[in-house]
């Protein structure tokens, strides 16, 4: 059971390759391994084009990997599933349906035999949960960007997925709206113990939301350089998070990675790097003692996952 739980999602050696126009193939990534335990919130960060969306689409079952497999809850996935809800980057609401219609579409797909009243009631509950009460009968075109994204969130949550997959869900929003939505997503996901994989470009977003942050190197032939365990306490709140002593330690580490190591990692792999077991990096005060004893220099404060 514990074994299954720590490998709730297991990405096993997946690859994505495209044929080049002039012949040959481009390898976006290959031999990619990653495990996500049940109930964990994982963020993937990396530069544009490194293949994050591809990884997420493979997880969703919308794309098949050129190689390898994804195991969820002990079973290899073979296509899209109601167990894995996706919040798309471009909100992807059906514009001819109302807010209620969009959420109800998901609910009635999940519970095929449910009556109309039941579907309606459940849809309204989730619309209220994301703070859109009163806008049920509006069409997506009448909503602001933030409200549309909320509908996308309500739609994904309403089907009670085992896994929530999000592709840069907040990147098109202004800072204030983004903050509010992050708060809501974090509140809902921690309350329900939701397993989440989220892609983001935003380092602060990752630190606020994620339990673990997966760092991908630049493409082509991108790889998972390391997985950073977030040292901030579970009960962190947005307003004070930046005053935490470990905040800038993590932040600097992530920014350093994006600025330089994402590019150079390939040529400067730490000794013993194994793509099947990307190192888990522990930072901050709690990890300090371990670091004292460690003689390996900075980037490899990693302790191999086991």
């Amino acid at each position: 059971m514990a074994e299954i739980d720590s490998k709730f999602i297991s990405i096993e050696g997946i690859a994505r390759r495209y044929p080049k126009r002039e012949g040959g193939v481009t390898t976006i990534f290959e031999n990619l391994w990653l495990q996500v335990p049940r109930g964990e919130f994982v963020c993937i960060i990396g530069h544009s084009g490194c293949g994050k969306t591809s990884v997420l689409n493979i997880l969703a079952g919308l794309e098949t990997p050129s190689d390898g497999a994804v195991i969820v809850d002990g079973q290899a996935i073979s296509g899209p599933s109601l167990d894995r809800a996706v919040i798309f980057q471009g909100h992807a609401l059906l514009p001819w349906r109302t807010v209620l219609g969009n959420v109800a579409y998901a609910v009635s797909s999940r519970w095929r035999k449910a009556g109309k009243a039941e579907v309606d009631e459940r849809s309204r509950r989730f619309i209220e949960l994301v703070g859109l009460k009163g806008s049920e009968l509006k069409k997506p075109a009448e909503l602001s960007g933030g409200m549309r994204q909320r509908v996308g969130i309500a739609r994904a949550l309403s089907i009670e997925p085992k896994i929530l997959l999000m592709d840069e869900p907040f990147s098109a929003l202004d800072a204030l709206t983004r903050g509010t939505l992050q708060d809501e997503v974090r509140r809902i996901c921690t309350a329900t113990g939701q397993t989440v994989v989220m892609i983001t470009h935003d380092v602060d977003e990752a630190i606020y939301l994620a339990d673990k942050i997966v760092l991908m190197t630049n493409g082509p032939e991108a790889m998972v350089a390391e997985v950073v365990a977030n040292p901030l306490p579970k009960d962190r709140v947005r307003d004070s998070i930046h005053r935490h002593e470990d905040y800038y330690v993590v932040r600097n580490h992530l920014v350093d990675f994006l600025v330089s190591r994402s590019r150079t990692f390939r040529d400067e792999k730490p000794a013993g790097y194994d793509p099947r077991r990307p190192p888990i990096v522990k930072l901050g005060s709690a990890a300090q003692a371990a670091e004292m004893a460690n003689t390996i220099p900075f980037p490899a404060t990693a302790s191999a996952r086991d």
Binding site: P80, S81, L82, F88, L94, P95, Y105, S109, A141
Partner: protein, 279 residues
């Protein structure tokens, strides 16, 4: 400063009155009372140009005829004397049947073509060759095989309205946004339900555009087809009145063709607006 609509309306009326005035002046016989009929035209009709009365009616004559026709539009005194409303109904009926059959064929077939790149590639050459054929060119073939002038006219309507709908449906279905299809896929929506809940609503505006183009073409073609096959219909009426040399009635017929065509287009435009969604 009145609204643009009011000003445009006033301008329309002014233009209409100016046109009628010019028309009236053009057909009023000059006082010198020369031969008012165009000699060419007279020769064509086999009549001699006698009298000063122009054969070309003025707007008032036409208005009078129009009024007469509207007073009793549905009378039926045998094959050569039917009310204008009745003739119009014959034409609309033929268009409705031919066009309706075309919808029933074009939309499902277009759907399949749009869903399958293979079908699209395979059928494209046929469509490209058949599409530019003038629908009236089918008439001899239709008359020969169907042996019924009424059904042949309906067939011609069918064949001319099928292509725009077929192509637009295929295009609209093929162009449904990937992300909407992905939404349905991640919700494990089956193929049938996906077709009706995602693809059809997404493609509906494009399909309706095709239907609107088709009804326009069908209405253009029915007039010509009825001139060929004769018997009933507004096209036959116009041709018959030309043979009767009643130019005023010809003009009334033309007016009605225009008005009916406009109404058909308005109906389709309204439907189109109903399925169009803002993004």
């Amino acid at each position: 400063m009145k609204s643009l609509g009011v000003r445009a309306g006033i301008l329309s009326v002014v233009l209409f009155l100016a046109f009628c005035l010019a028309w009236q002046i053009a057909v009023t016989p000059s006082t010198s009372s020369g031969p008012a009929l165009d000699p060419e035209y007279a020769k064509l009709m086999g009549i001699t140009t006698v009298g000063a009365q122009s054969a070309m009616p003025g707007p008032l004559d036409v208005a009078q005829k129009f009024w007469d026709a509207m007073k009793n539009p549905f009378y039926d005194n045998g094959p050569n004397d039917k009310g204008l409303g009745l003739q119009l109904l014959y034409s609309i009926g033929r268009v409705a049947i031919g066009y309706g059959l075309a919808v029933l064929v074009a939309v499902p077939v277009g759907f399949l073509i749009g869903m399958s790149p293979l079908a699209y590639r395979a059928l494209d050459p046929f469509i490209q060759v058949l599409k530019p054929i003038s629908p009236l060119a089918w008439m001899p073939l239709a008359l020969y095989t169907i042996k019924d002038s009424n059904l042949s006219a309906i067939f011609v309507i069918f064949i001319c309205s099928v292509w725009p709908m077929l192509l637009n449906t295929a295009f609209g279905v093929g162009a449904v946004r990937k992300e909407w299809l992905n939404v349905a896929l991640t919700l494990e929506v089956g193929a049938w339900r996906r077709a009706f809940t995602v693809i059809l609503p997404a493609a509906a505006p494009t399909i309706l555009t095709g239907m609107r183009i088709s009804i326009g073409i069908a209405w253009l073609v029915i007039v010509a087809a009825e001139m060929l096959v004769g018997g009933t219909g507004i096209g036959y009426f116009v041709w018959n009145e030309w043979n009767n040399l009643s130019i005023a009635n010809v003009i009334v017929g033309i007016l009605l063709i225009g008005i009916a065509g406009m109404i058909l287009d308005l109906i389709l435009a309204r439907l189109q607006r109903r399925v169009t969604f803002p993004e």
